[in-house]
């Protein structure tokens, strides 16, 4: 008997069984009227929006709490002329004290902090002496491009390879892929990136070593600029893609293997459908929803991986910004980066959840 499941924030809960109408053990599922389906989808969407809103609020609160709860004083070193982190410019010190506002009661601090965040004010960078928001605005697009490329590429490759491997499971290619993907999953992104640099930029120098553009280059045409940027993107994107591929590949492969023996697959084959149709319309489709769930989880990993990869290639995104901020212990920048990256991940996850609600035939269907 098939049980209808409703996905509520990542947990599968049963929502009543299908009714056995024929009395011989088969189940008959009837689609709910369109309007009802719409309504349930709308409710799922509203729920997701509230959930992610609450999560964002929690992130903001955590950022507020960390400097106040951790041992040590973030300001002491800045006011000590013998310390390497000493800030000599009194105006910058002034802004820094205002950022923390530690002389006021905690509730007032929290209220002021929330007010600033709502206005989009992320504080003042101590080391660069400029608003954190401007710094992030300059760096975020590069990270988004890198992450977007890697997520799209790794999804496409792992989906196709996963179905292919499941189709001929146990074969030489399947086994090689499983071993390679398990290995890729084990390697941290910075190690992958280092190995790629060594192979494709040092031993066989066909791609640039670092950066996002050739320094001081003057471009003859906009196309030349695009080509240059794309050439610089290849290695970082490849490193991140390799890091993100393994999980998705293994998931698609195992899900697909699970359905290959199902009766409807035998029927579809008996009908004489082409292999292509069998693979993608009948078998692969089942992997789509779990795939989306994993993709959502991976967006968070992609953020971390991107930070690592960028700091190998000195790619001018958030990772490089974070790397420099760590050196200078520039806390407002680190906190701003965390907030921005967390918001990005939450937005992408929300979108994925909405797509999920639309794709999943079980949401809003009654039996």
């Amino acid at each position: 008997m098939v049980k209808a499941m409703v996905r509520s924030s990542g947990v599968l809960v049963p929502s009543g069984g299908a009714v056995d109408l024929s009395g011989i053990g088969s189940t008959l599922t009837v689609d709910a009227p369109r309007s009802l389906r719409r309504l349930t989808q709308f409710r799922a969407a509203a729920r997701a929006i509230v959930l992610y809103g609450v999560t964002l609020f929690a992130v903001v609160t955590v950022i507020f709490a960390i400097p106040r709860a951790m041992p040590g004083d973030p300001i002491a070193a800045r006011e000590d002329p013998t310390d390497s982190l000493y800030v000599s410019d009194p105006a910058v010190r002034e802004r820094m004290l205002a950022y923390y506002g530690l002389d006021k009661p905690l509730v007032v601090q929290y209220r002021e902090y929330l007010g600033r965040i709502v206005k989009g004010d992320l504080g003042w960078s101590i080391s660069r002496n400029m608003p954190v928001r401007e710094l992030i605005g300059k760096h975020l697009p590069w990270t988004l491009m890198l992450m977007g490329t890697a997520l799209a590429l790794s999804s496409a490759i792992s989906f196709l390879a996963g179905i292919g491997a499941a189709w001929r499971r146990g074969g030489a290619r399947d086994r090689a892929l499983v071993v390679a993907m398990t290995g890729a999953r084990a390697m941290p992104e910075y190690a992958i990136a280092a190995v790629l640099v060594i192979i494709f930029a040092v031993l066989w120098p066909i791609l640039p070593l670092y950066g996002s553009k050739t320094p001081f280059a003057e471009y003859a045409s906009p196309l030349a600029l695009v080509v240059d940027v794309a050439r610089h993107l290849v290695l970082p994107a490849a490193a991140l893609t390799l890091g993100l591929m393994g999980n998705k590949f293994l998931l698609v492969r195992n899900t697909t293997i699970g359905v290959l023996g199902e009766d409807y697959m035998v029927l579809a084959r008996a009908k004489g459908l082409s292999d292509r149709r069998l693979k993608f319309h009948h078998a692969g489709r089942n992997a789509l929803l779990p795939f989306l769930t994993v993709l959502g989880i991976q967006v968070g990993f992609a953020v971390g991986g991107s930070v690592f990869v960028e700091s190998v290639f000195a790619y001018p995104g958030m990772g490089t910004l974070i790397l420099r901020a760590v050196e200078q212990r520039d806390y407002p920048v680190l906190e701003g980066c965390f907030l921005t990256l967390a918001t990005t991940v939450l937005i992408v996850n929300l979108l994925i959840e909405l797509v999920y609600a639309r794709l999943d035939p079980r949401i809003g269907s009654t039996s």
Partner: protein, 305 residues
């Protein structure tokens, strides 16, 4: 909302019955390979003072000496012995694997057992917290925490565990949920056993294998995160770490103009990869023990066409 969840019965999905699959000769599994890799690094960590010719910070030779009899992996920019740093770096990774990995599973198991056993509202609240943690990107959070917590080894282990426990909590909760319905547990409750007794006597032994698999995974993530934080400059500066070794190498501008990358950048990258491969292989083997269906899929023969 009731917290009972129907046990999912997996339908038999292999078209060939298990008996029909010709039995292969048993090969030493992938798990043993993993244990071998790990044993090498454990040995390295245990005998670090004997294996390493120099102390980590000692200026042992000229800057950037090539590998030779005195320095097996050459020296870095200030003349420290790279091989010694690698050997001592194994200690850092092993410490993270055991302490941070163990702490992660401890917290995860505690939360998972409470959520799964208590059910109801407790379960719902705890699982919302887990969901919340799972969508927040952990590396940027770790960076902020690490920047404030300071660079001590223990502090790093604690913050890694603090951000990494939710997946193991979820796995262990679902195991506890399936245990709840077993007759001997029901009987134990019926005889008036306290919650702590049931959890300690009946639940804990049953989640051992799952917790072990969970530990292997958590240990891998912890090793990766410590090396990553050290790579970003947030590690303990007084101790050798493979991540910091890679960072130092990459910070040297002319790294790729010389051949120094061969003995300075590559060895730590290879070490961390093989350490993590060891843990992954061990994890795969454990998962196959827990869920034999996975193993059958992995080695199933080609479908007859």
């Amino acid at each position: 909302m009731t917290a009972t969840i129907a046990p999912t019965v997996e339908p038999a999905q292999d078209e060939t019955p298990a008996a029909a699959i010709p039995r292969r000769r048993r090969r030493p599994g992938i798990g043993w390979l993993g244990i071998f890799f790990l044993a090498v690094f454990v040995g390295m960590a245990l005998f670090a003072p004997r294996l390493a010719g120099y102390r980590v910070t000692e200026l042992a030779g000229e800057p950037l000496e090539s590998p030779g009899p005195g320095h097996l992996l050459g020296t870095n920019l200030v003349g420290q012995d790279v091989a010694s740093q690698i050997v001592y770096g194994a200690r850092m990774s092993l410490f993270m694997a055991i302490v941070a990995g163990g702490l992660t599973v401890f917290v995860g198991a505690l939360v998972g057992m409470i959520a799964g056993w208590a059910g109801g509202r407790t379960d719902a609240v705890l699982m919302r917290v887990v969901d919340l943690f799972l969508v927040i990107p952990s590396l940027p959070l770790l960076i902020v925490l690490g920047a404030y917590a300071g660079p001590s080894m223990t502090a790093i282990a604690v913050i890694v565990a603090a951000t990494a426990w939710p997946p193991s909590a979820r796995v262990i909760r679902s195991q506890v949920l399936s245990l709840r319905r077993r007759a001997h547990l029901q009987a134990s409750v019926g005889f008036g056993a306290r919650n702590t007794h049931v959890l300690r006597r009946h639940v804990m032994p049953e989640i051992g294998l799952i917790a072990a698999a969970s530990f292997v995974g958590a240990a891998g993530r912890a090793v990766m995160m410590e090396a990553g934080l050290a790579f970003l400059g947030l590690g303990d500066p007084t101790r050798a770490s493979w991540g910091r070794l890679m960072r130092d190498a990459l910070d040297f501008d002319a790294l790729f103009n010389t051949s120094a990358w061969q003995w300075w950048l590559l060895p730590p990258a290879v070490c961390i990869t093989f350490f993590l491969l060891g843990l992954t292989f061990l994890g795969v083997a454990l998962e196959q023990r827990i869920n034999p269906r996975l193993a059958r899929h992995a080695t199933a023969h080609r479908r007859p066409r």
